[in-house]
């Protein structure tokens, strides 16, 4: 019985995740040599903290991509949920719990609409979510008049800036969402069905699964994760900003794909996505420390994305 046990351990970092992991380690070591400020506890926590927003969206995006879909509305959900929570607290004087709940509901509702339009309306995911992205972004701008919403209670700022022991709360939330996401994807019927649908939708239908409802729930989950990121973002900025989430969609997709997921669906995992998100964050942080400008960073991040995915294709 020793064989299977060993195999299971190796499986923890499957081949497709391994490339990303190896890249992460190499880049990490390179920056450690290049800058003495890089490999310190403070900076590593900082990397995690910076990664948190992208990483948490990526959990949701992992489900969407494995199911064979794509969600381009996550950035707009980040903005709108942050704005909504901020308005509930800052403008209407509700406490942080109500604010957080309202933010989450925004994300779940937009996710539901995405899933509904995609399954019942037969609209391709890329179109449906571009549409809801535009709508959510417009809503955020209309609600705020394009200005940031301030005057948030102190208790709210804990989410983005507080610590539990040495652990920043956003990092704590990463851990919770990833453990939850991992179990949901690997250990539940829902997760198994997501893999099935992404691998072969027709076979899943003939296996008697309710393909549509599972898909709707996938987008709701992704919306909820994006809303959590939106709340962290609003807390860190200490305000609700209608354009805070711009561009996060593509970052999340990049993280998931670097982590080994296939945009054709059926393949992927949250562990890989976390590695992908950390990799992107390490790049930003490291480049900052060695003094490379943001504009150059974008160019390099793009190149890394291409390299990572090409390597995965080659080794598969």
């Amino acid at each position: 019985m020793k064989g299977p046990e060993n195999k299971r351990k190796i499986k923890l970092l499957k081949q497709r995740e391994f490339i990303a992991f190896a890249a992460l380690i190499i880049i990490f070591m390179a920056f450690s040599l290049a800058s003495e400020n890089f490999f310190t506890l403070f900076n590593v926590m900082n990397i995690f903290r910076q990664a948190s927003i992208n990483a948490i969206i990526a959990v949701g995006m992992t489900f969407v991509i494995i199911s064979g879909g794509i969600d381009l509305s996550v950035g707009a959900i980040v903005s709108l949920s942050g704005v909504m929570a901020a308005m509930v607290m800052g403008n209407w004087g509700m406490n942080s719990v109500v604010g957080v709940l309202c933010g989450l509901i925004v994300g779940i509702v937009i996710g539901f609409i995405n899933g509904f339009v995609i399954t019942k309306g037969g609209v391709p995911p890329i179109i449906a979510t571009v549409a809801s992205m535009t709508i959510a972004k417009g809503l955020a701008l209309v609600l705020t008049g394009g200005r940031s919403v301030t005057n948030l209670p102190d208790s709210f700022s804990v989410i983005g800036r507080g610590n539990i022991g040495a652990l920043p709360i956003p990092v704590f939330i990463i851990i919770i969402t990833y453990v939850f996401g991992y179990v949901l994807l690997k250990k539940t019927r829902f997760g198994a069905t997501v893999f099935g649908i992404g691998g072969n939708e027709e076979a899943a239908r003939l296996a008697g699964t309710s393909v549509e409802w599972v898909k709707i729930r996938v987008y709701m989950f992704c919306g909820a994760m994006s809303a959590i990121s939106g709340l962290i973002m609003a807390s860190r900025l200490n305000s609700g900003q209608p354009l805070a989430g711009d561009g996060l969609d593509l970052n999340a997709i990049a993280a998931v794909v670097i982590g080994g997921a296939s945009v054709n669906g059926g393949v992927g995992g949250v562990v890989g996505s976390l590695i992908g998100a950390l990799l992107m964050s390490v790049l930003t942080n490291g480049f900052d420390l060695i003094g490379m400008g943001r504009y150059y960073q974008m160019i390099f991040t793009g190149i890394v994305l291409i390299l990572a995915v090409t390597l995965q294709k080659k080794t598969r």
């Binding site: 299977p4 195999k7 250990k187 539940t188 893999f195 992404g198 691998g199 003939l206 008697g208």
Partner: protein
């Protein structure tokens, strides 16, 4: 009439199979020559050799007395040989004219751009010349199957095809459309086109062809003038004498019915009624397009029905989707395992467990250990050849993949197993193993519906056989009373 095309001693080998064995065949100018034979007789291989898709391993092709070597489909096309396959090769969003001249669009000398005016003018002239009643501006997706076929024909004629090969051209046509097609074929012949016509439907073959060639197991058994042979003789030639004697008699099952279908109808099938008994293997024989798959999809709830009732274990039930069918313990092994049956991205364990995951759930979580035990049980039970249950199905052989699909339904406790072409695309050894698995299932009191295009297989594994033709049941037989000859007659439209 002069001989236009001559095939001399063509031999074609595939790994493990001799698909064509010294085949000789000839086509005269202005002739309609039918090519008949059971599944796997070598018809497709022969036309693919003529079309330049396959290079022969031996023998040669002569055109007008000249030896030819077709390396690519283009070589054959340039020599005037056109094939219209069962699967059309049209662009559904382009119009008729654009389809006819795709890749061959005339370029204007002046602008070096496509001269669309000439495209439409030429298309119009071509269609008029051959009396094809089509609008050059119509989009392919708005056309009927018969009209799309006309476009295919026009495309072939556009590069002056002298020889037109038609593979089962009537398989998906209605009766009126078949008549229309025959008129077109007659007309083409008058205008000097020679035709090789492949069909299973003997009534059509005997009506339209001048001569016919019967293939069996890769060899030509007979070439004859159509008027001089009877349908019975053709069937005999197609089937061969020896096989019937090799097939063992299966016993008659006399137990309670588990599935009763009455007057089932929808757009594909008409008035289908039959019963399936406990522990029985019921074979369904029919040509491609006879409604076998459609009938099974209707029972399984994958397609809707317009009329009829279904009784499972003595209880009438309304099956609105696969979910209902599964809860009534019906399982379907679909026609194409890769497209519909398997999750190629997953391992054996999960593929087997997928339909009945709730069996392994405790506290919302999948108990992987229980799941693996079940998978291993099915691996043993069905003798699936794999190192572990964790092995990806992608890397299994075709026969073992089919067994995984079977295992999936056994895991879901299905008692009625519908197997739609389970032996398609698997090698001989794997076929035998699938048969053994079916026998074993029947012994365990499971009831099996077995569909195959290979009549011999149907006859071998079934206790009882139903024949279908054009969406209707044409006969029902105890296996011991049935011969291949008879079966061939009933599935080709004879009575």
């Amino acid at each position: 009439m002069a001989e236009l095309l001559k095939v001399v001693d063509i031999t074609k080998r595939f790994p493990g199979v001799l698909a064509l064995d010294k085949v000789n065949f000839s086509l005269k100018e202005g002739e309609i020559h039918a090519l008949v034979g059971a599944n796997g007789a070598g018809k497709s291989t022969l036309i693919k050799t003529l079309a330049g898709v396959h290079m022969p391993d031996g023998g040669w092709i002569e055109l007008g007395g000249e030896k030819q070597l077709f390396r690519t489909p283009n070589d054959a096309k340039e020599k005037g040989i056109a094939v219209i396959y069962q699967e059309f090769t049209l662009f559904s969003d382009l119009d008729v004219a654009k389809n006819i001249y795709f890749g061959e669009e005339p370029i204007s000398d002046r602008t070096r751009l496509i001269d669309w005016k000439t495209v439409y003018k030429n298309a119009e002239e071509l269609l008029n010349k051959f009396d094809l009643d089509l609008n050059v501006h119509a989009k392919i997706r708005d056309l009927s199957v018969a009209q799309q076929q006309m476009v295919e024909i026009a495309k072939a004629l556009s590069y002056n095809a002298k020889i037109l090969i038609m593979d089962e051209p009537t398989a998906t046509l209605t009766i009126q459309e078949v008549e229309q097609l025959f008129d077109i074929i007659e007309d083409l012949r008058k205008k000097g086109v020679s035709i090789i016509y492949i069909s299973h439907r003997l009534d059509e073959v005997t009506r339209i062809s001048d001569r016919l060639t019967v293939l069996r197991n890769g060899t030509v058994v007979e070439t004859a003038v159509t008027n001089e042979v009877s349908k019975e003789e053709i069937i005999k030639l197609m089937v061969g004498e020896d096989i019937d004697n090799q097939i063992k008699e299966n016993k008659v099952i006399d137990s309670e019915p588990v599935l009763k279908v009455e007057n089932l109808s929808n757009q594909y099938i008409h008035d289908v009624s039959f019963t399936l008994k406990k522990g029985e293997v019921l074979g369904i024989a029919g040509l491609v397009g006879a409604g076998r798959t459609e009938c099974m999809r209707a029972i399984f709830g994958a397609d809707s029905i317009t009329d009829g009732r279904i009784e499972v274990f003595g209880e009438e039930c309304r099956i609105k989707g696969p979910k209902d069918a599964i809860s009534h313990r019906i399982g379907l092994l679909p026609e194409s395992r890769k497209e519909q049956g398997l999750f190629m991205n997953l391992n054996i364990r999960r593929n087997i467990a997928m339909v009945n995951l709730k069996k392994f759930i405790s506290f919302f979580l999948i108990n992987t250990k229980k799941e693996r035990q079940e998978a291993e049980k099915q691996i043993d039970n069905l003798k699936i050849k794999t190192p572990t249950a964790e092995f990806p199905v992608l890397n299994l052989s075709g026969g073992n993949q089919q067994k995984v699909v079977l295992g999936k339904w056994l895991c879901a406790n299905s008692d009625i197993l519908i197997l739609d072409e389970p032996t398609r695309g698997v090698d001989v050894g794997a076929k035998e193993e699938i048969f053994q698995a079916i026998y074993a299932l029947a012994k365990q009191d499971k009831s099996v519906i077995f569909i195959s295009s290979e009549l011999e297989e149907v006859l071998r594994v079934s206790n009882r056989v139903i024949t279908m033709y054009k969406g209707r049941i044409t006969g029902e037989f105890e296996q011991k009373n049935l011969t291949l000859n008879e079966m061939m007659k009933y599935i080709t439209g004879g009575q």
